[in-house]
């Protein structure tokens, strides 16, 4: 199988995150591989391993679109087990919204030839829109199987489970397809020493917009269909009254709710 995993390099949520880049974009100083994309990578690795792994010709290609630093998300993916990496990077991509991102990623996926599956995370931990997987499926004309909490592939068909609010669904599609997976699907592995050494020998291909035949005017700030006109930091929540239970905290809680007219 040839699987492309979409991995995004995002600001680490453990630190304060700021929208102080050009056009209110995120400051990318302390960035990491988006945690939610580790589930996508794990799902791909399990499918490849069940088919004999890379020795049997299975490919797990980690594709990331982003500035120079995004290569670190690809390197981490290679350490975890991806077989090769592709870094789509171009100055003209800066400021791309979901529509522009999906356009560039769709072109990159097409550039990679016959792909059986594109697996993504359920959402990026910075943009958090979940728009990219659905838009990618629409652009590629492929079946969309999103928010999968289980995934099986048998020949040219896939079966997934998807939890909606009032029901859970079993979904089937033919390959090739675009699949996004939730954090319920598996337990992502950590890179081990062997993996870290092996990653050094794996190849990372760098692609520009010209390489994938995308006109720079279609992406970035100019090609995006949405623009952020304002961003203001919310005043951080401040701690209120903290009490220690002396046997009557439940009553004090109710007093508080009554005073706030919340009863």
């Amino acid at each position: 199988m040839k699987i492309v995993v979409l991995v995004k390099h995002v600001p680490d949520a453990q630190f304060d995150r700021h929208l102080n880049g050009e056009g209110f974009t995120t400051d990318r100083d302390e960035s990491i591989l988006s945690e939610l994309d580790e589930y996508a990578l794990e799902a791909a690795l399990q499918l490849a391993e069940a088919r004999g792994g890379s020795k049997a010709g299975n490919q797990v290609i980690a594709l990331s679109m982003g500035p120079a630093g995004a290569v670190n998300a690809i390197k981490k993916s290679l350490q975890i087990g991806a077989t090769e990496g592709v870094h789509l990077t171009d100055d003209a991509l800066a400021g791309s919204d979901a529509a522009a991102t999906s356009l560039a990623l769709a072109a990159a996926v097409r550039h990679l030839g016959d792909v059986d599956l594109v697996i993504t995370g359920m959402a990026s931990t910075d943009g958090e829109t979940s728009l990219v997987p659905a838009q990618l499926a629409e652009r590629l004309g492929l079946p969309q199987v999103t928010f999968a909490s289980s995934l099986e592939v048998d020949g040219g068909r896939l079966t997934a489970r998807r939890d909606a609010d009032t029901s859970s669904e079993t979904v089937e599609a033919t390959l090739p397809a675009v699949v996004s997976v939730t954090d319920q699907i598996n337990e992502p592995r950590y890179p081990n020493f062997k993996g870290i050494i092996a990653a050094k020998r794996k190849s990372i291909t760098t692609l520009s917009l010209a390489d994938i035949g995308v006109d720079p005017a279609q992406v970035g700030f100019s090609g995006s269909w949405t623009t952020v006109t304002n961003a203001e930091q919310r005043p951080p929540r401040t701690a209120g009254t903290i009490i220690t239970d002396e046997g009557d905290a439940g009553i004090k809680l109710v007093d508080f709710l009554a005073a706030q007219k919340l009863l």
Binding site: T166, W225, Q260
Partner: protein, 317 residues
Amino acid sequence: MAKVLVFIDNPGASLKKSSLELLTLARSLGESAVALNGELSDGVAAAFGEYGVGTVIRPSTDDLDDFLVAPKAAYLAAAAEAAGAGIVLLDNSPEGKEIAARLGIRLNAGVITDVVAVDADGTGHKSVLAGSYNTACKATTPVSVLTLKANNVTPEPAAAPTTPEAATVEVPAGSSTAAARITAREQKVATGRPDLTDARIVVAGGRGMDGDFGPVEELADALGAAVGASRAATDAGWISHDAQVGQTGKTVSPQLYISAGISGAIQQKAGMQTSKVIVAINKDAESPVFEIADFGIVGDVFDVLPQAAAEIKKRKG
């Protein structure tokens, strides 16, 4: 005046509150039309009139529910074109956002998700980065697609009710050929409690509940609240995954969020820190949840929750 199209999916016998919110917002932005999928009951038809809907569009086929998202987006794109819509509004559920995503590509339209308010010019307001920024976003395209978070608009019937016109839109041929098919659907049992995403009050429990959600449920019921949970609690199987609040669960912003035995990790905060009032009960005074609590109790959940529930019942008589 702008034409505004609202997508309403399978309303059943009556419209959900979030649908009434969409209709109220739509009317404030222009002339509103509805693209419906599913049965049109008498109650829903009457509500459309009360909320001032001009036209109710329905699809030419009734099999849209057999597929995942794609044909619904194709139908809605055709409906938006037929209605000449400049703004399309959907609810902010995972499926609503995905239909919006594909609709955007079909209509060459900018998509803005997680919107809490919309200005007359179509600018959407939303908070990002786990609630740490408020932003304003605008589509630069002729059509804008927005998904509205529940609980941000007060539903209000129109001053002058309408008698909506009926229209049918052809679902584009072939829109289900490349779509994933839903082959089985298992209904979940309703809890009888308010829906987590639009509840006025949420009582949430974490690992500190140590396998027993009874005290959380008891307090929730005394308050008429929905039950939420941290991922530690849902992963442990103490409560259904549907109750998870946070980055990979639901985002809630109720009037009151009571956090019990939850440490307040960044992924949990992402789903609840825009709540109006936050109350936290945790036995560890150093827990990060106390940094965002309006009222914090350093104490044991098994003492505090039952005592509060009993006191509420006593006061309510």
